[in-house]
């Protein structure tokens, strides 16, 4: 197991290298002069333009710029935000915990609802329970995140006044954003769990368990569910990426102070150091989550060989 984890960690290096090249090339790919884009709307003298170009190291050849960029990243220096003039690392660290809280919170909600709905649908296939939960899942999949967010806000904040509509100060601020993201993701999970549960329930070992005279409850929840969960676990990494993407929109709906909200102002303000820093953080988060998911998959499914 340790060897497997070590190998997966090694495999992370080329991925992160690829990501760093992608993130670095973002600034190169921008059409037009990046310095002038950053200074858009500001009255800047030629002197100021050149000063900023030198400050950002943009007067150097590309490979030198990349090496310098990498060296800085390894030191934890992601540059300085053009707008706030604060270090990008500080800007991100202030907001990152909020985004992770939102993502993990939504994942928990998605897992709770998605698992129950998926298993119930499979066990009570073709009954009204199945029809209702699959119809709900289909609607959930077709709903834009931001709209569901607004609807929940309308109902729970404006009408019932149960939860605050905006901000991220307390745990109560987390409820509605996490519920929005969680509900939509649970729709995907419910469909997946249902079909994988239906596949597993047809397998020989389930028939054997029934033939042995085990109760239906034990067969379903002890024998079938564990195996039916494996595809769901492999998808967790993908869901996490999906949730991070969704959190971007949801943070804006609920004025939730996460990195998504900072990313939007960075894009609108052409604040490239901050844009690159946030993309890098998103990518590293996804890569690490995928590593953890791979290891979890190994624990859950003994058939996975670590060689």
């Amino acid at each position: 197991m340790a060897q497997y984890v070590a190998r997966r960690l090694l495999l992370l290096i080329p991925v992160l290298l690829g990501v760093s090249i992608l993130v670095f090339s973002m600034r190169v790919l921008v059409p037009g002069d990046p310095v002038r884009i950053m200074l858009f709307g500001q009255a800047a003298t030629e002197e100021r333009v050149e000063q900023l170009r030198q400050h950002l190291g943009l007067d150097q050849p590309l490979h030198v710029q990349y090496l310098r960029y990498m060296r800085n990243i390894l030191r934890g220096d992601l540059g300085t935000s053009i707008r706030s003039r604060r270090p990008v690392t500080v800007e991100i660290l202030e907001r990152y915990p909020n985004t992770i809280r939102l993502t993990v919170g939504s994942l928990l909600i998605a897992a709770a609802i998605g698992l129950v709905a998926g298993v119930v649908s499979a066990v009570y296939k073709d009954t009204w329970l199945d029809v209702v939960s699959m119809l709900g899942a289909l609607l959930g999949l077709s709903m834009p995140h931001f709209w569901l967010g607004l609807l929940l806000m309308m109902f729970f904040s404006v009408r019932l006044r149960w939860f605050p509509a905006m901000g991220s100060a307390t745990l109560r601020h987390l409820v509605l954003p996490a519920m929005t993201l969680g509900l939509i993701t649970s729709a995907m999970l419910a469909r997946l769990v249902r079909s994988s549960m239906l596949d597993v329930l047809q397998l020989d070992y389930v028939r054997t368990a029934r033939a042995k005279g085990l109760s239906e409850r034990v067969v379903t929840y002890k024998h079938a569910l564990r195996n039916a969960l494996i595809p769901a676990v492999t998808m967790l990494g993908l869901y996490f990426g999906y949730l991070l993407g969704g959190s971007f929109v949801i943070e804006i709906v609920f004025s939730y102070q996460g990195i998504g909200e900072a990313y939007l102002s960075a894009i609108l303000g052409r604040d490239f150091p901050l844009i690159q820093g946030i993309v890098l953080v998103y990518a590293v988060t996804i890569a690490v989550v995928n590593l953890v998911v791979d290891c979890m998959y190994g624990i859950l499914d003994p058939q996975v060989r670590y060689d």
């Binding site: 834009p144 709209w147 806000m153 990426g241 939007l264 998103y282």
Partner: protein, 291 residues
């Protein structure tokens, strides 16, 4: 339906068989009907809309649905129904253009690396794995960050974000088809690589591409609407459905219709394409075609 005398199977062309199966599916009927409504609305927008979608009328601002305004008016007094009707054009345009970009580029990349194989395949697929991790909107956000906010750039961004999925699918199908005898036969007759890829491989892997194209449509509509909603896609005064909800938060109490109807329009269209795509996938699945 005529049957083949020797096998007892239907001798109709496969595509007609598939069409017959699709039409029989309830989900496909509902999905198809929704998509049809969307297409007709987009094509006949000037005849369906009751008002000019851009005309402001401050005397009529924030009017509830009813008298003169079927779905009410927004904060600038514009008719919501007409704006939603015209918005359907943008939604379809977004779907067609962005999914077109994903499908064409993704198919070309997948065909090439799948057919050529070797180091090129290895390198491109690793890069695609990395891009796949940036699921959906995150990749689109990276592209928008580079290109800048606008409807055109949002379409390009959504298009690019779908390329990895197509490339991976087409590459996989190409690799399995490459082993077939008819490819070997074509090679032995001296056919060039491009000819084999486009005339022999591509026609044989078209069904999964078709299914993914239909299933990418709703994803593209949702992503583009999200981009417009946060101000990175269609810009005001565009009646794009995501853009209609910009700033709607302040009207939650007084004018819920400003929030409800555009959201419902998006959900309705996405649902239509989802139903159609799922039915198509079920029918085009080769396992279902046997027997």
């Amino acid at each position: 339906m005529p049957k083949d005398q020797t096998t007892g199977r239907h001798s109709l062309p496969v595509w007609r068989l598939m069409l017959a199966r699709i039409v029989r599916k309830r989900a496909a009927q509902i999905g198809g009907a929704i998509v049809l409504v969307l297409v007709i609305t987009a094509l006949a927008a000037p005849y369906i809309a009751t008002h000019d979608p851009f005309e402001r009328n401050m005397a009529q601002r924030i009017q509830p649905p009813g008298d003169g305004h079927l779905l009410g008016t927004d904060d600038l007094g514009r008719d919501m129904f007409s704006r939603i009707v015209y918005g359907s054009r943008i939604t379809l345009q977004i779907g067609l253009i962005s999914v077109g970009i994903s499908a064409v580029v993704g198919t070309l990349v997948g065909l090439l690396v799948g057919y050529v194989g070797g180091l090129l395949d290895l390198m491109v697929m690793r890069a695609i794995d990395i891009l796949m991790a940036f699921s959906g909107i995150l990749l689109a956000l990276v592209v928008v960050a580079i290109l800048g906010p606008s409807l055109e750039n949002a379409m390009i961004a959504v298009g690019i974000s779908g390329i990895p999925e197509f490339a991976r699918l087409v590459r996989g199908s190409t690799v399995s088809v490459r082993q077939e005898m008819y490819i070997e036969a074509a090679q032995s007759q001296g056919a060039g690589s491009a000819r084999i890829m486009f005339l022999h491989v591509l026609p044989n892997i078209i069904s999964p591409i078709l299914v993914l194209t239909t299933l990418r449509f709703p994803a593209a509509i949702l992503t583009a609407a999200s981009l417009s909603f946060v101000g990175l896609g269609a810009q005001p005064p565009s009646p794009e459905w995501g853009a209609l909800l910009v700033g709607a938060r302040v009207h939650l109490r007084r004018a819920p219709w400003i929030v409800n109807y555009p959201g419902f329009a998006i959900m309705f269209s996405v649902l239509g394409f989802n139903l159609l795509g799922n039915a198509l996938r079920d029918v085009l699945d080769p396992r279902e075609l046997q027997g």
